[in-house]
């Protein structure tokens, strides 16, 4: 037998390419994907065919143009499309900085798929849902300890909805104190998530954005000047999306508290902080965690997730209702929340996600969470040092400031030298079964890359990632054609996006595409 030599510096990869039609192009008239139960004869005898009871003019007259496809072909279509999707559990997922895409343990999904979870109706008598309520309550208690807050609501189903929940509490709080009109400003920072600006703006606030100082930290003097009797709240991530922690955060929150405002902590970047530092000690009145980021529950292509909002006891009665409570004997839903902002999502949020987070915490415990924080930071600092061996890649602001769990780099020099933007490089990274993400817009840091390894990758994974990026940077200088044509080994080739911003051209659905591209 010949010995098989595997000495490639980078992975030889090609993503699945099925070139599947659009679903409307599949099947043929009369094909069925599934049969539906029919009403029994006795029912038909009593009430007829059903159609005749529909009031005049209310029966469907518009033809229903769904495709007709046999079940195998439907399944084949979706399985093929799944192969053309690079889930976090499949690749070395370091390149979606700020998103904390870590390993999503399979066992948690198996537990959540149990009929004991999936087949519960939210309005069942709570005597029949004690199990899930207990899980939610226990998770609440653990989140309190992790953050130092006094009560949690799991109603928000995502981070931006949680930020909106916090902004709603801010508004209600000042309203009841008679200061709603006066306090019309919310302060955030430039490297906090865009939703920290956008969600409070929805709640009617004027947004003040604090820029970074020369060290990449929120400018204290500018902040001090911004805080006033008009300040309703301060909404901030720390570390920010650059991975830089603001060590003076307590001075910031103290200023806001003294001015009568509230401090709201976006803990989307909490993965490097478990057991190290908490919201309470930093002077926050409320915070939220993304269970689908930091607590290991899957992102599901963009939800459903859970934005767990925690508050200090003085703000408990502003939370959305109902809250899960325990009276010493049984768990129940407390609707009697006197200053409640009302509701942000139907029922009590996404309990199946809370279940997965509970299971995740219970597989780690306090020591495990501390290990997560330490290793997420270790991996990040290691990755930074390894990546920066490449001369063109730089860490903006001060390189000697230790990042926490992620880092925002700049490829400005590579872009200047080679003409390739971070978007061009990103297209080439796909050719190796990986992913890099630039940053949220606008690009305050030129040609950014935001990388967040989390605790998930092994040393070997980190090395493969570094080798691949270095290889691609080399290509940018020495083999530009391969970057220009990238992706070369992905599912599809470069998309012509010129129609996307043109109302005459864009096609947000198949029927619009069919109308606009009809052959004469």
């Amino acid at each position: 037998m010949k010995r098989i030599i595997r000495k490639n510096r980078v992975r030889s990869f090609h993503q699945a390419r099925w070139n599947e039609p659009i679903i409307f192009e599949l099947g043929s008239a009369g094909e069925r994907g599934i049969l539906v139960p029919k009403a029994e004869e006795e029912i038909v005898e009593k009430v007829g065919n059903g159609f005749d009871s529909i009031p005049k003019g209310m029966g469907r007259s518009v033809p229903l143009k769904l495709p007709e496809i046999n079940q195998k072909r439907v399944l084949m279509h979706y399985l093929r499309l799944s192969q053309e999707t690079l889930g976090g559990n499949i690749n070395i997922e370091i390149g979606q900085g700020t998103c904390t895409v870590k390993y999503n343990p399979v066992v948690n999904d198996k537990l959540a798929a149990s009929e004991k979870m999936s087949e519960l109706h939210p309005l069942q008598d709570t005597s029949t849902t004690q199990g899930i309520l207990e899980i939610i309550h226990r998770t609440d208690l653990m989140m309190r300890e992790i953050s130092g807050m006094d009560h949690f609501s799991f109603q928000a189903a995502g981070g931006s909805q949680a930020t909106m929940t916090m902004a709603s509490i801010v508004r209600m709080y000042h309203r009841l104190r008679g200061e709603e009109e006066q306090r019309d400003e919310i302060i955030t920072t430039v490297y906090s998530h865009p939703s920290d600006a956008a969600a409070p703006a929805l709640k009617g606030y004027k947004i003040i954005t604090i820029m970074a100082d020369e060290n990449g930290r929120p400018d204290y003097e500018a902040f001090k000047a911004a805080v006033s009797e008009r300040t309703a709240a301060f909404v901030v991530a720390n570390p920010e999306d650059t991975g830089i922690f603001n060590p003076r955060i307590k001075e910031f929150t103290d200023l806001v508290t003294a001015a009568g405002g509230l401090n709201c902590y976006d803990q989307a970047n909490a993965n490097g902080l478990y057991g190290v530092a908490r919201a309470r000690e930093a002077g926050f009145h409320m915070c939220y965690f993304n269970l689908h980021k930091s607590f290991g529950t899957p992102h599901g292509c963009g939800g459903p997730g859970s934005g767990a909002v925690g508050v200090i006891s003085e703000l408990r009665d502003f939370l959305p209702k109902p809250l899960v409570e325990f009276d010493g004997e049984k768990y129940f839903l407390d609707y009697d929340i006197k200053n409640s902002i009302g509701k942000v999502r139907a029922f009590i949020g996404t309990p199946q996600v809370v279940l997965k987070a509970y299971s995740w915490i219970m597989s780690l415990g306090a020591e495990g969470l501390y290990e997560v924080a330490k290793v997420a930071s270790l991996n990040n600092v290691y990755l930074i040092k390894r990546l920066l061996k490449y001369k063109g890649l730089e860490l903006p602001y001060r390189e000697d400031v230790q990042r926490i769990e992620q880092a925002r780099y700049t490829m400005e020099k590579i872009a200047k030298d080679t003409g390739f933007s971070s978007g061009d490089i990103a297209r080439r990274v796909m050719d190796f079964g990986m992913h890099i993400w630039s940053s949220h817009h606008p690009f305050y840091i030129p040609d950014p890359l935001t990388l967040e390894p989390t605790e998930t990758p092994s040393m070997e994974d980190l090395e493969e990632y570094v080798e691949t990026l270095h290889h691609i940077f080399d290509e940018a200088y020495n083999n530009p054609e391969i970057i220009k044509s990238a992706p070369n080994n992905s599912t599809i080739h470069m998309v012509d996006e010129s129609s996307m911003d043109d109302p005459d051209q864009w096609c947000p659905t198949w029927r619009v595409y069919e109308q606009k591209t009809k052959e004469e």
Partner: protein, 467 residues
């Protein structure tokens, strides 16, 4: 806290002491404590978190969580007639097969290349729902019906520059709370009166309330209380006459047999995808959609992502991308974008796409027909009981209907308690949310209810009210 931590944890490859030493050496650091150098001492916790001891193995974890879950009794163990915003439908096995695949389950925000499948499935979901609704634009799903309605109203308010919305009086009070919070401040929400006998919107009240400040009129079909609003054309006409937008919330499971709102003048259609292949998950299966015509003035008001199809540089390949991305809070605009966008319920959109392509037009039609037959049968049978009115409203109901217990001398609470003892979840008690109706309950019957289930309910109620 030196040497504190969970070493060699299976989820944390670099938690082994040897590899950690290697990495620390490379970094020139002594120990893990040298990380977090940026966090000042006074902010550090400097003590272990006080949390329950973790389970020692995956087996023990699974055993313990399953034990907790076993305290639940499900709608498979009890016979359930609960609806009210979350409905029990059959979930085709193919839906679970597709949405539990790691590829979809653990993907997030990849590019149109490495996540081509995610873009295509969501584009297809948008397109399939557009066919069901007879509309042209559908968003990547938002959180739930309440959110979809709230955003629809915000869209209308921005389009018209007006600050008030009139909403149907029979709206779910919980959904109304979501809308009110989301629209506060900026859009005032006013509830309209409804006809006590038929449940229909009081058109006189609508006319009296429409003004030059009305951004939108919002109503639902079927209504929260189950009946069809048959004056949709007139409501839309009146709204348009006043320069307002007509918004209709709709149950998509009805649209195989019921006319879509486009046919009676709706400008924006919204609703919940949960009936289309989502397990109830104690309320965690809700997922909202918003839909409009393909007009720039509508499209530019969506806060959501809209995936569109486009060519690639290779002939014969479909590519995808974001339609008018700049309008979102992910564009360059931050707080000046339309509302905000972020993690919502994309996987449930993909699942709804699988559901609709599996069901096809015939499946959706048969589903609707079946639901109507079974709900009509239940109404009829319940009406035969002493003191019970099977459907309080003189109107046609689709899958939910208001059962009136006022004539039984029993409260809904009493009836439901007695049903629970018989292994049945009775309908949602409406006596608190709609006190004007007295003792009424909202029952839901779908394709999963077989005749024997319905007959069991009817005989159980008979025993309870006639005892």
């Amino acid at each position: 806290m030196k040497d504190y931590g969970f070493k060699n944890h299976p989820y944390i490859p670099n938690s082994g002491p040897e590899v950690q030493k290697k990495m620390l050496d490379y970094l020139g650091l002594e120990s893990l404590e040298d990380l977090h150098a940026e966090i000042p001492e006074e902010l550090k916790l400097n003590r272990p978190l006080d949390l329950p001891k973790p389970y020692g193995s995956e087996y023990e974890l699974r055993r313990a969580v399953e034990k907790l879950l076993s305290k639940n009794s499900t709608t498979k163990e009890y016979l359930s007639f609960l609806g009210a915003g979350c409905w029990q439908h059959y979930v085709p096995a193919i839906c679970d097969e597709v949405n539990s695949r790691s590829e979809f389950l653990t993907a997030y925000a990849g590019e149109p290349y490495n996540d081509h499948g995610r873009f295509q499935t969501l584009f297809e979901y948008e397109s399939l729902v557009a066919e069901l609704l007879d509309m042209e634009v559908v968003n990547v799903p938002t959180f739930d019906w309440g959110q979809a309605a709230a955003t629809s109203i915000r869209m209308a308010s921005r389009m018209t520059g007006r600050g008030e919305a009139l909403v149907v009086g029979t709206i779910d009070p919980d959904r109304l709370m979501i809308i009110e919070n989301y629209c506060d401040p900026g859009v005032k929400i006013n509830k309209l009166a409804y006809d006590e006998k038929t449940g229909m919107m009081d058109l006189g009240d609508l006319k009296a309330n429409l003004s030059s400040n009305t951004a939108a009129v919002y109503f639902e079909n079927p209504s929260f209380l189950g009946f069809l609003e048959t004056n949709g054309s007139e409501i839309s006409r009146l709204a348009h006459e006043a320069g307002a937008i007509s918004i209709v919330g709709v149950d998509p499971s009805s649209l195989g047999v019921i006319e879509p709102p486009s046919a009676y003048g709706a400008d924006i259609v919204c609703g919940d995808l949960q009936p289309l292949g989502m397990h109830m998950n104690y309320g965690g299966g809700q997922s909202g959609f918003i839909s409009t015509r393909n007009e720039e003035r509508f499209v530019m008001e969506f806060p959501s992502r809209l995936f569109g199809v486009a060519p690639t540089v290779v002939e014969g390949e479909y590519g995808f991308g974001d339609v008018a991305y700049e309008r979102t809070s992910f564009g360059n605009l931050r707080e000046k974008g339309k509302e905000y966008v972020g993690t919502q319920t994309a996987l449930l959109g993909i699942t709804a796409g699988v559901y609709l392509s599996t069901m096809g037009p015939k499946g959706m039609e048969e589903l609707g027909q079946n639901i109507i037959q079974k709900s009509q049968y239940t109404i009829k049978a319940l009406s035969g009981l002493k003191g019970v009115v099977g459907s309080r409203f003189d109107a046609f109901s689709f899958k939910e209907f208001v059962v009136d217990f006022n004539g039984t001398g029993k409260t809904v609470e009493e009836v439901n308690k007695a049903l629970l003892l018989k292994g049945i979840f009775g309908g949602k008690d409406l006596s608190k949310a709609f006190p004007e109706m007295g003792q009424c309950a909202l029952y839901c019957v779908t394709e999963i209810h077989m005749k024997e289930d319905i007959d069991r309910l009817v005989s159980a109620i008979k025993e309870i009210v006639e005892e």
